[in-house]
């Protein structure tokens, strides 16, 4: 895509950290330079703020670019670290006001409350986001980075590391929720001298941008998590498979890898031990199916990203038929903190078998779009209304879609459900990678189902028939329904087809493709019937064609 070179160039420009003062700064301004704020020219703000502060003679303040502050809706964001004061929608002209505020900061200041959006979150994987300069290794180390890897290498055996992860109850944050400790143990015990660790950063779900934010804001954390994993499973080589659509994340990741190699946190003899591990970046190329682990492996090997039947699982036979550990970005991002603070601490957060926290990307018709991390077990209502600030224009809530194209829509009646892997499956949805898309009464649920079917039909790799042909057939029936041309028989046919595709498809894409249909039919069947029987679209989204007049 054409935006790539420009965006990549932009971030290669020197970091603006105007520290002209000896010793710690009296006041620090954090300017968000993650993709969302950067698209609103936040880099210019950083430069301007540095200049204006210097002109105003403030020699003891620091202007620092940081990763995502979370509240993307209000970007570009600037935060004063000492007081917690937030400036939103900052335009280049507003810089003077921030300089004034910086002037007033006193050493005795304490942080003010920043409102429920920030106060209700529990930060683990995102603890450094909006705090560290994403490209600065020193910054990361200053906040406890690489402590966990150092401890693991010098004081623990790989079995002990695996045991800690198992006891923490951490589960795969890519969506399916497979116990991470179990996966690590399987790879560690698999036969073979060469083993690999792969980080899945092919975040394809539309509406999900957690992995991108983590990579853009705190790339070292992912590298450290991968290195710990490599030590635990005896791997020596690693890959990060990242979408090419995330030029900023890729560029920061590449910088981080280079810096870590230089500092001896990657390569041979890490932390003066015999442990060796190195990481390479591999770019995806716009195929959603490559998020599936066997397809991802095919893509890393330079082939078409088509999945293959499992077993054998990648843990036994993965990349180049060697045992391979594949985890998601967020999973790796949790690992250093778990080792540092202990598995019991992590297991204490959350609910039941879903321990810890989950990062969600809030999007759609919600006031505070952005990135949040909440403990498992928080109710959907708290996420949407307290943290998310409710629906845009005060319209009524209709549904929230989770899990991307394999997920489902959760209606208002389940708003008080605690969020966990199990509860989401119970209501017919799916954790997925963590996109939460809120819909109000301006969305037609049949149209939404059609949208996801269109996505699956387009992204089906074409290897197995149920998915290749089935998703197109389902889309055609949904298209007929939205035009008011379908009959009740068509609806029955759609349900039959959906059940078949769910059972017979080769990989998660096909098996999950009918989920949006199932969940919308479960909660919003009346909307389907309105299209078919009454030939109206209750939300006024679909264009119903006039009935053919019988002669």
């Amino acid at each position: 895509m054409s935006e790539m070179p420009a965006a990549a160039r932009a971030i290669r420009r020197r970091v603006i950290t105007e520290e002209v003062h000896e010793g710690p700064a009296r006041a620090t301004a954090y300017v968000c330079e993650a993709a969302s704020c950067m698209s609103a020219q936040s880099h210019e703000i950083t430069v301007r703020l540095g200049e204006r502060a210097a002109v105003a003679g403030l020699s003891d303040v620091m202007v620092k670019r940081v990763g995502c502050l979370g509240l993307c809706a209000a970007g570009p964001l600037v935060e004063i670290a000492e007081t917690g004061q937030l400036f939103d929608h900052v335009r280049p002209d507003d810089v003077e006001g921030i300089v004034k505020a910086l002037k007033k900061v006193k050493p005795t200041d304490t942080r003010v409350s920043q409102g429920p959006f920030f106060e209700k979150q529990v930060r683990v994987a995102t603890e450094n986001m909006g705090r560290v300069d994403p490209e600065s290794l020193e910054d990361y180390v200053a906040r406890g980075g690489y402590e966990a890897l150092h401890t693991a290498l010098s004081e623990m055996t790989s079995a002990e590391v695996r045991d800690q992860i198992t006891r923490s109850g951490l589960r795969g944050r890519g969506g399916a929720g497979f116990p991470t400790g179990l996966k690590w143990t399987t790879v560690a015990k698999a036969q073979g001298t060469q083993k690999y660790v792969i980080c899945n950063a092919d975040e394809g779900d539309p509406g999900a941008f957690m992995d991108r934010s983590v990579l853009e804001s705190d790339p070292y954390r992912v590298l450290e998590g991968m290195a710990i994993a490599a030590f635990a499973v005896h791997a020596t080589e690693g890959y990060v498979y990242c979408r090419a659509e995330y030029p900023l994340a890729v560029a920061r990741l590449r910088t981080a890898i280079r810096m870590a190699q230089r500092a001896g946190w990657l390569g041979t003899g890490i932390a003066d031990t015999s442990f060796a591990f190195d990481i390479q970046v591999r770019l995806g190329a716009g195929a959603f199916v490559c998020g599936e682990e066997t397809a991802l492996i095919a893509s890393v090997e330079g082939r078409r990203g088509t999945p293959r039947p499992r077993p054998p699982y990648p843990a036994m036979q993965g990349l180049w038929d060697c045992p391979t550990l594949i985890n998601n970005v967020e999973t790796f991002a949790n690992v250093p903190t778990i080792l540092r603070k202990g598995p019991e601490w992590y297991a204490g957060i959350g609910v039941g078998k879903s321990t810890g926290t989950k990062v969600f990307a809030l999007a759609g018709r919600i006031v505070n779009t952005g990135l949040v991390e909440v403990p498992m077990g928080m109710t959907l209502r708290e996420v949407v209304y307290d943290i998310g600030g409710g629906i845009v224009d005060g319209r009524p809530f209709k549904a929230v879609q989770t899990g991307g194209p394999s997920g489902g829509c959760i209606p208002a009646e389940h708003l008080d459900m605690p969020l966990s892997y199990e509860s989401l499956i119970e209501v017919g949805s799916f954790m997925g990678s963590g996109g939460l898309i809120v819909m109000d009464d301006t969305s037609c649920m049949v149209d939404v189902a059609k949208y996801f079917q269109d996505f699956c039909r387009d992204e089906s790799c074409g290897k197995c028939v149920p998915c290749r042909v089935g998703t197109t057939q389902m889309w055609m029936i949904l298209d007929q329904i939205t035009r008011g041309k379908a009959t009740l028989d068509d609806l029955a046919q759609l349900e039959r087809l959906a059940r078949m595709i769910q059972k017979m498809s080769l990989c998660g894409l096909g098996q999950g493709a009918p989920n949006p249909i199932f969940s919308t039919l479960r909660y919003f069947r009346d909307e389907y019937l309105a299209h078919i029987v009454d030939r109206v679209c209750p939300a006024g989204v679909c264009t119903i064609e006039p009935a053919e007049v019988m002669a």
């Binding site: 935006e3 969302s36 509406g207 995330y246 190329a285 330079g302 999007a363 991307g404 898309i437």
Partner: protein, 163 residues
């Protein structure tokens, strides 16, 4: 495994082939480098023509058919040169709910161009993206590398027409 015949010469003396060649050499001139090599070629030339596909395939020891297979499988690769300006419309869920469909319809009405097409005068290519990750700015488009958020169809069309 390493292919031992002579490396093929670059299709022309265009210096950009050097970039592609270097990227392939760094990864050992072996088949696993295929996707990275195609990325390099597309970054350098903007699209992948037959020369590029064959050159990459011959260097890495991958049959032309497989190179073509990979290049067409991944939607990021394009085999056609694009227009002078590109307008990428995000069709991720958040943008969809906030009216991406109307933007595409508006572009079609005003400029007679559908996704993945270029206007008749070769000026503007319209593309769609699955999700730009700019969900907070929905609906979002990228015009020549600049992300625009909360897009209004009329303004967008006016901007494109003025180009």
């Amino acid at each position: 495994m390493p292919v031992l015949y002579h490396k093929p010469p670059a299709p022309s003396d265009d210096k950009r082939w050097k970039i592609v060649e270097t990227r392939m050499r760094r990864l050992g001139d072996r088949p696993p480098a295929l996707i990275e090599a195609l990325h390099a070629a597309q970054e350098a030339f903007g699209y992948l023509d037959t020369d590029a596909l064959n050159y990459v395939g011959d260097t890495l020891g991958v049959p032309h058919s497989r190179v073509y297979g990979v290049a067409t499988f991944y939607s990021f690769f394009t085999l056609k040169p694009s227009g002078e300006h590109t307008c990428v419309v995000c069709t991720g869920t958040a943008c969809y709910i906030n009216g991406a469909k109307d933007i595409l319809a508006g572009l079609d009405r005003a400029l007679h161009v559908k996704p993945k097409e270029t206007t008749a005068d070769g000026k503007i290519s319209v593309l769609t993206a699955r999700c730009l990750g700019a969900c907070s700015l929905a609906p979002a488009v990228i015009v020549d590398g600049d992300v625009k958020g909360k897009v209004n169809v009329g303004d967008l069309v006016a901007q494109l027409e003025a180009m």
